[in-house]
Structures are given as structure tokens and as C-alpha cells.
């Protein structure tokens, strides 16, 4: 059983083309959409979301210089994270049912109306035969997926796991966000909700070393606690403490904190104040507005963007804690050791 899990590849697609040159980034969503051929065969095998997921996974594997084995490769798995998943496909089935009756439902389209479809379609296309599943929750979805992927690796069930955040903002999603009061956002400085995909490749440190891969970061700690009924400040504080526990902090090596930057800012700041009273905390930042908020995919997009931009020497690592907060879901935090310092150099 491996005790250390490292991040060896990242990729992201957002509408903003967050960067054009760094190896882990690929073209923005508009360009990726335009570049997709749509043969009948491909139409049957994919949706827009699965094509984007496939693209970001390919980019991540390329970034990590990981070649899949010929034939089904059971050493690699896929775990997805999304808030709305494939509701657009599901909504299409509902509309067909309402407007034309049950006989009009297309069997192939119905089979795609599962939230895991972008991942299974990608797995089928690339021959990824390890575990495949999807977490569908809110801002913490990517953190939950990271924890599950890490645990699969540490349990020896596979050597590498791709964590894929995927969020598609379609008409029905936008209407739902608006009806829930999440669009338009209450503050102009809050990151805009938008779509995006990101992939992060986790490997056991041993497997990465064996193939000569350099780690972008070590995934050190993950903490998740439910916020739906408990005191949110207390829960966020406890989440952060648990995630900071494994980061081996000292006054010479304090933790950098990247707050969630979402709607629970006041609550999160108060929790941070309490944490800082007991822990060595260094700089505190929020994700830049240009990065956006991709709901269930947001942590994956943030990590992929933070860690993009070149290889990190394994002996130059500092602790960073990233928060994800949803007052109707979880407080979640990810602790990493990395030489990456911030988002600034990744600005478009």
C-alpha cells in the first residue's frame, strides 16, 4: 500500500482560454466545440459533454506523458465530479416524453442520460478499464472525487486515477441556477458561474517515480464535513484543521490558504480567523474572478490551473490549502505540497 499520492498531470478547458501555451492547457470551450467532427458514429457515441471530457482527459494524459497500455488498461481509472452532470440529456428525454410520447424516446439517447456517461464514453474510447464513477454534489464534488481516487490508489486497486471535473451550463441548468437564486450572482466580485472541464492525474509516488514522472504536487490531505445542519463556522474550522493536520506546518513553513471565494465568504473568513489563531498561516488569497466558478468542477479547475505551468522540483514544496464551501453541502479542503505559488502568472 502506497502512502503518498502525487499529481503528475493536469489539463483544463474553460471558456476564457486561461492560457494558450502551458502544456496542461488546451483551447477554450468555444474552440473545442468548433473543432469537433460530428459523424453519425461519433454522434451516437458521444454528447457535447463527453467530447469535452475526452479532450481534457487526453490533454491530461499527454501532460503527464502517461501512455495507456494497449487494450483495456485496468491500471488507470476515472472519477468524475459535477453538480449538474448530464441533466441536459436527461431533460431532452423528459421533453421528448412530454411532447411526443414514450414511443419517441431514442434508446441511444436514453442510455446517455446517466451522470457518469461522459466518463464511461471516455473510458470506452481510450480503453481505461479501472474503476469509473461520478460524484454529483455541489462545490465539494471535485474534492470528494479526489478523496475517492486517492483512496483507490492507496488501497492498491489501481496505479493511477484521473479525476475529471465537468460542468456544462445549458439552458435548463441556467434556468435552475436562476430559480435557485444563484444567477445573477449577488456580488460583482464573485467569480462568474460558468462551464469548464479539468482533469488531474493522481499516481502513487512509487508508480510515478518508476516511470520517471515528475510530480507537480503531492496530494497530502483531504477533509470533508457536512454543512447542512451544523454550525457552518464550526464545521469549516474543523474541516480546515483536519486538512492542515497532515501538512507539517511550522512558522518557517506556514500554510498558504486559497479560500473558496464563493457566497459563504463571511462565514469562511471567520472560520479562517479561528484557525489562524492556532496554526501558522501565511498568505491568504481567493481565486481570481477570471477563473470563474464551475460549480462541481471548480476545485478541479482551480487545482489544474494552479499547478499548470511547468514541472515542479520535488524538493521545493510548500503547503497550500484550498477550500471548497457549499452551505447546502459540504465544507471541504485539499492540502497539497507544491512549488506552485499562485494563479497570477496564469492570468489570461
Amino acid at each position: 500500500m502506497s502512502s503518498h499520492v502525487v499529481i503528475t498531470g493536469v489539463a483544463a478547458i474553460t471558456p476564457r482560454n486561461a492560457a494558450e501555451t502551458a502544456p496542461g492547457r488546451i483551447e477554450g470551450i468555444a474552440a473545442a466545440d468548433a473543432g469537433q467532427p460530428a459523424s453519425r458514429s461519433e454522434h451516437n457515441r458521444h454528447t457535447r459533454l463527453s467530447r469535452l471530457t475526452l479532450a481534457v482527459v487526453r490533454a491530461c494524459l499527454s501532460d503527464a506523458e502517461l501512455r495507456l497500455e494497449a487494450g483495456p488498461d485496468a491500471t488507470v481509472g476515472l472519477v468524475g465530479a459535477s453538480s449538474y452532470g448530464c441533466v441536459d440529456t436527461t431533460d431532452g428525454i423528459f421533453r421528448t416524453m412530454r411532447e411526443k410520447g414514450p414511443a419517441a424516446i431514442d434508446a441511444v439517447e436514453f442510455a446517455k442520460a446517466t451522470h457518469v456517461f461522459p466518463l464511461t464514453a471516455t473510458a470506452t474510447e481510450l480503453g481505461i478499464a479501472g474503476p469509473v464513477t461520478a460524484f454529483v454534489s455541489s462545490a465539494s464534488a471535485s474534492v470528494e472525487a479526489l478523496a475517492f481516487a486517492r483512496d483507490l490508489i492507496q488501497a492498491g486497486q489501481c496505479g493511477a486515477m484521473l479525476v475529471v471535473g465537468f460542468e456544462e451550463i445549458t439552458e435548463v441548468v441556467a434556468r435552475n441556477l436562476a430559480a435557485r437564486g444563484l444567477l445573477p450572482l449577488p456580488s460583482p466580485v464573485t467569480p462568474r458561474i460558468g462551464e469548464g472541464m479539468a482533469a488531474i492525474l493522481l499516481e502513487s509516488a512509487e508508480a510515478a517515480a518508476a516511470r520517471g514522472a515528475l510530480a507537480r504536487a503531492e496530494l497530502r490531505t483531504i477533509a470533508i464535513r457536512c454543512l447542512t445542519a451544523a454550525d457552518p463556522i464550526d464545521q469549516i474550522e474543523r474541516t480546515m484543521h483536519r486538512a492542515l493536520d497532515g501538512l507539517e506546518l511550522s512558522t518557517s513553513s506556514p500554510a498558504s490558504i486559497i479560500l473558496s471565494g464563493d457566497v459563504a465568504a463571511g462565514v469562511e473568513r471567520e472560520a479562517l480567523r479561528r484557525v489562524a489563531a492556532r496554526r501558522p498561516i501565511g498568505d491568504v488569497r481567493t481565486p481570481p474572478c477570471w477563473l470563474g466558478n464551475q460549480l462541481g468542477a471548480s476545485m478541479a479547475v482551480r487545482l489544474a490551473t494552479l499547478l499548470d505551468g511547468g514541472r515542479v522540483p520535488s524538493d521545493a514544496r510548500a503547503p497550500i490549502l484550498l477550500n471548497a464551501i457549499d452551505t447546502r453541502g459540504n465544507a471541504a479542503a485539499v492540502g497539497i505540497l507544491t512549488a506552485a505559488r499562485g494563479f497570477e502568472e496564469r492570468a489570461p
Binding site: 469509473v132 483512496d151 488501497a155 486497486q157 435552475n176 435557485r180 451544523a230
Partner: protein, 402 residues
């Protein structure tokens, strides 16, 4: 040394039974539940009957039995959240847990498509985007509603990977316990079949109009069903500290994908999942006494599943005993994995495999033995529960007696 994960409670809500005890009696009777869905008109479909929960029966059991907790269920909660809450309370009660003691627990829920996006979608089409539908629409809304009603403080997750969803949720719960993210995890699933699901499986021609006959030579498909099932999982040391009586040990977990086809299963994926679960359990295939199969009753599923089991266990038919309880319960989609994990635990604790009364002509190509006429006694030490899903997801769980 790793602390074992034990099952200390079970809870079930199906169309035929509310409560794990009633569910076990229903299984032993082996009388399939088939009726017109109480929640939508199925007359326009090729298959018109299913095992769909009547929400009024759930409400009648939930509100008088647990008035304070039921009152905390958000008004926007989707119907399947009521099923899930009732099953969760059944499981927590059988584990000997009360509100203060379950509060630190986490929850891991599997669901197929979850939420009430159909209601929201219909409201959108009539320009009635009411907030009450809006909050219920996302797939994780059932998880949020149940966690709120139970006032849980541990990690809360909602997993959706078609018909492996709740088996994966049990895996996730086991990982949360192994990582000490929680001392107790509620793991399971809840689903409500909508008319569009009915239409979709009809379009796939995967539904049998006359009942599920898994592994029968004349099998014609599945019977759709819905409901909820939960297991209370905890580390053995924690269960011991609070003097809980474990029912079984969750010995091994494994998952793998086929990487093959959108709907057609391939035996290699399940084979890999079973081998991984056995390796996780530290067992050889010969140690498994009983397998609760996915066994939907569709020709393709049962054939692929039988091929995978023949490859792992051999073709001599000597062991293990194999059955599909979907012949009695129907297919609870994303909840099936948790329901059948509960069956696996009940088989261990009662020493009996429920019958498959709908199977009259076992397919000679599928060589595994089946309990047909009535309940079959078995002195099982290790049992396996398998789940397969659209897109080629597979999950395998191994439970051990104590």
C-alpha cells in the same frame, strides 16, 4: 493492522416492504411484486407493470414514526428523499443509534439520476420555474435533504454511476471510514422511477412484461423498481466501543470498467471487479459461498455475468451458490447495489438464500446453480454482491460472517 469495517444496521424501503425485517420475509416468500405504477400512468408503454413505491405509504410510515425528523425534511425534498430517510432511520434504529449518537456520522448515497429534474423541466416548459422544484432538481438534492433531516455532520456524498451507484457509495463509505473521516457512515441509495425512465427502458426493449426471470432460458428482461436501502457501516473498533452488535464484516471492495460499449456488458469488467474485491478481502475465489448477482433478466446481462463467474469460479457448478433477488424485488436501478448488499448481509445472518420462484427453466448455457423451489439453507462464511451499470461500470462487494 487495518481496522475492519462492519455492518451494524440495515434499512429497506421497497414497493412490497417497508423495513428490513419485512423485506426479508418478502424475499423468503419469493412472491414478485408487480403492479401498475402508483406515480404515473403506464398504459401507453409496452410493459405496464413494475415494483414502484407508493409515496403515500412511505409518508404514512415516516411521519407518525419519526415526526420531528420528518418535519426537518426540507419542503423541496424530492420524493426519493422520503424513501431514503425512512430506510436510513430503519438502518440507524437497527444499529442501535439515536439522534445524538448518529449526528457525527457521514452519508454516502447512490442514485441513478436523482432529484426531481423532471418536475423542474415540466415547470420550465410551462414557465412555472418555482423555487420548490428548483432546489429539488439537482442530482444531489436527496443527499442534501436526508443529511439535513438527520442533522449529520460527517462527509456527505452523492454518487451517480447508473446501476452501480449505490455499490460505489458503499465503497466510498468504506474509504471514508478507513481514512478516519468519520466513525460511522450511512451508505446506500434511493431512487424514484419516473415515466421517462419507464419509456427509456421500454425503448431499449429491456423490460419484461411478465416478470423478471434471471438466468432462465426464456428470460425476457427486467422489472423496473424503486425504493431505498441503507447500511450502517463503522470501524469494528468503534462498534465494539459502543457495544453494537455487528451483522457482518465488509471484507472486500472492487470496481472496474468494461471500456467496451454504451449498454452491452462485457464479462472482463466484472471479472476484474470481482478479482479486485477478492484481493482486497485477502480471499481466493473458492472461499465465496454465495453470490448475489446483478441478474437483471436481460439476455445480454445474464450471459455476460455468467461468463465472468464461470471464468472466476469454474464451470463445475459445485460452488458458490448463485442467485438474483431481482426476480422478487425487480431492479431498483441506482439503489440495487445497496439493496443487494443488504441481501448479502441477511443471507449471512440467516443462513438462507431466498428462492427464485419465477425461474422454471435455468438456461443450460449459464451453468451456475440456483435456488428455485424455496429458500435454500447455506452455511455461508463469505458472500459476494455484484453490480453492473450502463457504460460498463462494475462493482463487487465481499461480506464475511462474524
Amino acid at each position: 493492522m487495518t481496522d475492519s469495517i462492519v455492518v451494524t444496521g440495515l434499512g429497506v424501503v421497497t414497493a412490497a416492504a417497508i423495513g428490513a425485517g419485512a423485506f426479508w420475509q418478502h424475499l423468503l416468500a419469493g412472491e414478485p411484486y408487480l403492479a401498475a405504477p402508483p406515480t404515473f400512468d403506464a398504459e401507453g408503454f409496452r410493459s405496464k407493470r413494475a415494483a414502484i413505491v407508493d409515496p403515500t405509504k412511505v409518508a404514512a410510515a415516516l411521519r407518525p414514526g419519526h415526526p420531528e425528523i420528518a418535519a426537518r425534511l426540507p419542503v423541496w425534498a424530492p420524493p426519493c428523499a422520503s424513501y431514503g430517510l425512512l430506510a436510513a432511520l430503519d438502518a440507524l434504529g437497527s444499529a442501535g443509534l439515536d439522534a445524538p449518537s448518529w449526528r457525527p456520522a457521514g452519508i454516502s448515497i447512490g442514485t441513478t439520476s436523482g432529484g426531481a429534474m423532471d418536475e423542474f423541466s415540466a415547470a420550465c416548459s410551462s414557465e412555472l420555474t418555482l423555487p420548490v422544484f428548483a432546489d429539488a432538481a439537482p442530482a444531489h438534492s436527496a443527499m442534501t435533504a436526508i443529511a439535513t433531516a438527520l442533522a449529520l455532520e460527517g462527509p456527505a456524498s452523492s454518487i451517480s454511476s447508473a446501476c452501480t451507484s449505490s455499490a460505489m457509495s458503499i465503497m466510498n463509505a468504506a474509504f471514508r471510514l478507513r481514512a478516519h473521516d468519520a466513525d460511522i457512515m450511512l451508505a446506500g441509495g434511493c431512487d424514484q422511477v419516473r415515466s421517462a425512465d419507464f419509456g427509456g427502458f421500454n425503448a431499449l426493449r429491456a423490460m419484461a412484461p411478465d416478470g423478471c426471470r434471471a438466468f432462465d432460458a426464456h428470460r425476457r428482461g427486467m422489472v423496473m423498481a424503486d425504493g431505498a436501502a441503507f447500511l450502517v457501516l463503522e470501524r469494528e473498533s468503534h462498534a465494539c466501543r459502543r457495544s453494537a452488535r455487528p451483522l457482518a464484516r465488509l471484507k472486500g471492495i472492487g470496481a472496474a470498467s468494461d471500456a467496451y460499449h454504451l449498454t452491452a456488458p462485457h464479462p472482463d469488467g466484472l471479472l476484474r471487479a470481482m478479482r479486485t474485491a477478492l484481493a482486497d478481502a485477502g480471499l481466493d475465489a473458492g472461499a465465496i459461498d454465495y453470490v448475489n448477482c446483478h441478474g437483471t433478466g436481460t439476455p445480454a446481462n445474464d450471459k455476460a455475468e455468467a461468463q465472468a463467474m464461470a471464468c472466476l469460479f469454474g464451470r463445475d457448478g459445485g460452488r458458490p451458490l448463485v442467485s438474483s433477488t431481482k426476480t422478487t424485488t425487480g431492479h431498483l436501478l441506482g439503489t440495487a447495489g445497496a439493496l443487494e448488499a443488504a441481501v448479502a448481509v441477511l443471507v449471512l445472518t440467516h443462513g438462507v438464500v431466498p428462492p427464485m420462484t419465477t425461474v422454471t427453466t435455468p438456461d443450460p448455457e449459464l451453468v451456475q446453480p440456483l435456488p428455485l423451489g424455496g429458500p435454500h439453507p447455506v452455511q455461508a462464511r463469505h458472500v459476494m454482491s455484484n453490480s453492473l451499470g450502463f457504460g460498463g461500470t462494475n462493482a463487487s462487494l465481499v461480506f464475511a460472517s462474524l
